[in-house]
Amino acid sequence: MSDILNRVVKVTVEQLSVKPEEVTESSSFIDDLGADSLDVVELVMAFEEEFGVEIPDDDVANLKTVGDAVQYIGARSGAPA
């Protein structure tokens, strides 16, 4: 598991109060992990802080799953996903 994936899972577990084993790359934040639209805004803010990146609102709509977030952050931060 990549470093980015580990950290995305850690932040997701903290923010959404879910169990680590529930979170896989294909997990949808809303459909599988119980997030609502406000939870997603807060989750994205937590990703921004964890990785030191800015995620514009227009891009948030594309971050539906854990895997989407890992890829997006990998591309933005220049680190290997």
């Binding site: 959404l16 109060s17 879910v18 119980g34 406000l38 939870d39 805004v41 807060e42 803010m45």
Partner: protein, 421 residues
Amino acid sequence: MPEGYKPSGRVVVTGIGAITPLGSGIDKFWPRLIAGEGAVDRITHLDPTPFTTQIAAEVRDFNAEDWLEKKDARKVDRFIAFAVGAATMALQDSGLQPTEDQKEEIGVLMGSGIGGLTFLGEQHRRQIESGPGRVSPFLVPFMIPDMASGYVSIVHGLKGPNTCVVTACSTGANSIGDAYHIIKRGDAVAMVAGGTEAPINEIGMAGFCAARAMSTRNDDPARASRPFDAERDGFVIAEGAASVILEDLDFAQARGAKIYGEIVGYGMSGDAFHMTQPDPNGDGAYRSMRMALRTAGLTPSDIQYINAHGTSTAYNDRLETLAIKRAFGEEAARQVLVSSTKSAIGHTLGAAGAIEAVICLLAMQHQMAPPTINYEVPDPDCDLDYVPNQARPVVIQHALSNSFGFGGHNVSLILRRWTES
């Protein structure tokens, strides 16, 4: 409501939930209240060192995860968690398990004087330190006082009238009174009503310290809340919530509910004098008690117990005493027992009127007037029977509860003991 619904016009209390500094749940706090115990102590929720007042009555046995999903429990402002805890406790106590259709006829009115001040303070700090982009999307929903009613309705699926009263320290009493009216006029068969407050945070303490309204007896917290005592020096801030289940009498009896008591009188008035000081003749309080008596169809000698607003401030206790004498007349005022349970619980602001209505119901159920503790030095201006320091067994058929709030809001509720007949 179904076409042609006719309310009985009588409203009874069938469930009680309370989260107080003396304990959460009536079986926890009532015995301690009657034993004359107090809950005021040095503040632990934050570092009190910078504040002129360093004492409060904190709720220390409450765990939000007992009442909410883990994710929500961790996030919501404390005043919302308190509201859900108290409302759920009251619903469980009432045994009310509405059908899906009945849920549309059951509403929620859980007021808060201030709302989510803790969350607001934290997010304001984030904005200053990290910029507006770091402010939580939950700031607005967790800050607005009406979210107590909203959240309780979501948790329990209650779809009847859903609203909120914000009248500072009379919020809890106004919420129960307004919910009583909603049922009485036939807009709901039952209401979850009460008040909630969680003001013990940095910005809350700073504001109340600046207002110079709180006791500074930091070296002796246990004796700081001393209503009607000559050496009182201000109120002691506290937190908590209480909720009652109000039902139309016919609806309650049809389902065989146990009944604690009946709401029979509701008086309200405005001082129209000053933002924070009471009217110098106790005029607003006098008129609110008179309205409560009139709406109940009672005379002063029908009331055996008054749960006073009794904040332990110089102004309130003197002027409330004056107002009781004016509303009751000298003779009935000397007969009636008057106690301030804020001596033990502190002042829970928007929750106080609800907690004190609950105390009136329990006082009638147990036929026991709770004491005003820390009553040591008589004040010539406060010369009624305040049930000093020891609870007193007494026949209580009707109890009156006073609540007065910044803004000059005055509320008096009258409750009747329930006897099967």
